[in-house]
C-alpha cells in the first residue's frame, strides 16, 4: 500500500506541467477532440452550439473564432494556444529568480512597502500610492533605496536578500516593472488584496483586523471564510465515491477518532 506521502506527491505531480509542444501538442489536440467529438450528433465533423449540451461559457472557452462551431482543426489550435499560454502559471526556474515568484517573499515586500495603516494588508489603492512614492529614475529604482525602504530595522537581511534577487544583473538598479509585478505575485488568490501569510495554517496578519475573527484556538479567520483551528468543523453528509447510495456524515466521527480531510480534484 502506498504511503500517505507518496500519494500526496502523486497529487502534486498531476499539478505540474510544462508547455505543450510539437507531437505532444498534436496528441493532446486529438485527445481533446475525442472528448468533444462525442457531442457531434450528426457525425459531420463539427460540434455546433446546439449539439453541445454544456454551458455557453464552456462552449465559448473552445470556440476561438466565435462561429458557434467546433472542429478538430480549431481544437488543435486551441490546444496550441492553451498549452503554451493558458493553464497554470509557468513554473519559474529555481535559483535567483525563484524567490520572487511565490511564497511569502512578495507578500512581505508588498506589506513592507505599502501598508500605510499598519493593518497587515495592502489593497490596490495603497499599492498604487506606494509605487507613486518611489524615487524612480529611468524606470528603475536604486537597489540601495529599496533595501532602505524594506529594512525597517530587523528585516534588513531579508531586504538585502530579496533586493539582490530582483537585481539580477547586479547593476544596483531594480526595474520599476519588477516592483509593480510583486503585487501580482503576492496576491495569490487574485482578490486585489495582499495580506501577510503565516505558515501555521490559514492566511492571517500579525494583528487582528476588521472583517476577521479568531477561532477558539487563537487562529485568525476571515469572516465567513475558512474554518480555523479550534472552530467546530462544518458538518457534511456526502455520498461515497463508487457507491453513491452510501453516505458519510463527518460528525459521526466526533468523539470517536480524528479525520484528515483532503480537498481536491483530479485536475
Amino acid at each position: 500500500m502506498p504511503s500517505l506521502k507518496s500519494i500526496f506527491l502523486l497529487l502534486l505531480l498531476v499539478c505540474c506541467f510544462s508547455p505543450v509542444e510539437g507531437q505532444q501538442s498534436r496528441d493532446k489536440g486529438e485527445a481533446v477532440w475525442r472528448i468533444l467529438e462525442k457531442y457531434d450528433g450528426d457525425g459531420d465533423g463539427v460540434v455546433t452550439r446546439q449539439e453541445y449540451p454544456r454551458s455557453e461559457r464552456s462552449f465559448s472557452s473552445y470556440d476561438l473564432d466565435s462561429d458557434l462551431r467546433l472542429t478538430a482543426e480549431e481544437i488543435a489550435q486551441w490546444v496550441e494556444i492553451r498549452g503554451n499560454r493558458g493553464g497554470r502559471r509557468e513554473r519559474r526556474p529555481q535559483g535567483r529568480q525563484g524567490g520572487r515568484s511565490g511564497g511569502r517573499g512578495p507578500a512581505r515586500v508588498v506589506i513592507a512597502l505599502a501598508d500605510e495603516n499598519g493593518d497587515g494588508s495592502v489593497d490596490r489603492q495603497e499599492w498604487q500610492r506606494a509605487l507613486a512614492g518611489l524615487p524612480v529614475l529611468e524606470e528603475s529604482i536604486s537597489a540601495a533605496v529599496l533595501v532602505e525602504k524594506l529594512s525597517g530595522g530587523s528585516v534588513r537581511r531579508f531586504a538585502e536578500m530579496f533586493t539582490s534577487r530582483l537585481d539580477e544583473d547586479g547593476d544596483g538598479k531594480i526595474l520599476l516593472s519588477e516592483i509593480e509585478d510583486l503585487f501580482r505575485h503576492a496576491d495569490g488568490d487574485g482578490d486585489g488584496k495582499v495580506i501577510a501569510v503565516d505558515s501555521s495554517g490559514g492566511d492571517r496578519s500579525r494583528r487582528e483586523r476588521p472583517g476577521f475573527s479568531r477561532g477558539r484556538g487563537g487562529e485568525e479567520r476571515e469572516a465567513g471564510g475558512t474554518p480555523a483551528v479550534g472552530d467546530t468543523a462544518p458538518d457534511f453528509d456526502l455520498p461515497i465515491s463508487g457507491k453513491l447510495d452510501s453516505r458519510i456524515r463527518l460528525s459521526s466521527y466526533s468523539g470517536d477518532k480524528p479525520v484528515a480531510l483532503i480537498f481536491g480534484s483530479y485536475t
Binding site: 502534486l12 481533446v32 464552456s58 472557452s61 495554517g201 475558512t226 483551528v229 477518532k257 485536475t267
Partner: protein, 113 residues
C-alpha cells in the same frame, strides 16, 4: 478522506491544464463521481472519497478549492487548517498535526500508538 470538489483545471475552465487529466467540468453529480473514481483509481488512493454536491456547499464551507488540507480532531473541532493550495498544500504540516492529535488522544486514554 478525500473530499472530491469541483475541478481545478477542467478543460472548459479559464485555466485548463493540458498536462493533467483531460476532464470537462462535471455538470451532474454522476459526472463528478466518475471523475472521482478515475482519480482514486489512477492515483491508487487507499482512503475513502466523498463527493461534494453540485451546489459546492462543502467546498464553500471549507474554502477547499483548488485543494486544501484539514485535520478534524476527535472532539469535532478543526485541529489543523492548511493554507490554500497548491502553494499552501503541505502534507508535512498535516502529518505533524496528525501525530500531535494522536499523541493528545493517547494521553487521554485511547491508544493509537
Amino acid at each position: 478522506m478525500l473530499v472530491y470538489i469541483r475541478e481545478a483545471h477542467a478543460l472548459d475552465s479559464r485555466v485548463p491544464n493540458l498536462q493533467g487529466p483531460l476532464i470537462e467540468d462535471p455538470i451532474t453529480i454522476l459526472e463528478r463521481a466518475g471523475a472521482a473514481t478515475q482519480c482514486q483509481s489512477a492515483l491508487d488512493l487507499p482512503f475513502v472519497a466523498v463527493i461534494d454536491g453540485m451546489d459546492d456547499a462543502t467546498n464553500r464551507a471549507y474554502q477547499g478549492h483548488p485543494d486544501r488540507l484539514y485535520l478534524v480532531g476527535k472532539d469535532g473541532d478543526i485541529a489543523f487548517a492548511g493554507n490554500r493550495g497548491p502553494q499552501g498544500f503541505d502534507p508535512d504540516l498535516l502529518e505533524e498535526a496528525i501525530v500531535a492529535e494522536l499523541k493528545k488522544i493517547s494521553r487521554t486514554g485511547r491508544e493509537y500508538f
